[in-house]
Symmetry: C2
Subunit: 113 residues, 2 copies
């Protein structure tokens, strides 16, 4: 599967907030209701619901409603797209860094870490 730029924008945006990463970690231990997901967070319910909306739109989590309770769980392949994106770059970069190491060995150090 090839993710669109929009998919990647949404996914990385979803991961860029520690509350949302905390929700992902909670869901990594099993499905949870909004109440359970909100419990460890010191934020108001509308903020919790907004975080869950961002997570659901990113494709990282999904939800189902049974009666009045909405339960969230992780998509089974939730982080596969992140992994693929990193892996593709690492393959390309190995060559680049081999060349850069050669360049830096030949030239005076111009970059400070």
């Amino acid at each position: 599967m090839i993710e669109s730029q929009t998919d990647l924008d949404r996914m990385f945006h979803a991961l860029s907030d520690r509350s949302r990463r905390g929700m992902i970690d909670r869901l990594g231990r099993g499905p949870a209701s909004v109440t359970e997901l909100a419990a460890p967070l010191a934020v108001a319910l509308p903020t919790v619901l907004k975080h869950l909306q961002v997570l659901e739109e990113s494709g990282l989590v999904l939800s189902a409603k049974a009666g009045r309770v909405r339960t969230y769980r992780l998509q089974k392949d939730a982080l596969a797209a992140v992994e693929r994106w990193v892996e593709q770059r690492k393959i390309q970069w190995t060559t680049t860094f081999d060349r850069l190491d050669q360049f830096l060995a030949d030239e005076p150090e111009t970059f400070s870490e």
Copy 2:
């Protein structure tokens, strides 16, 4: 190395924009000046500089100035933190999904993919 929540916030935020991911891909082929990085983007220079600032603050890229030209390059272990974060979760989730599969095999399907 353990990344702080702030490090992770910054890194995922840096990756959440397709222009910034494009710059990372360009730098994956070797160091580049601001002019070279701006060339493929249909945005104004201040926007380019803002993207580069976000990338540099995230620790994904670094820069050096020689005379009047600032050159950017990738941090050698740029995506290692993303990889580590994903890997830690995958290890935890394997257990969760084994349990969830068992749960779903025992119960009527309640989640729609």
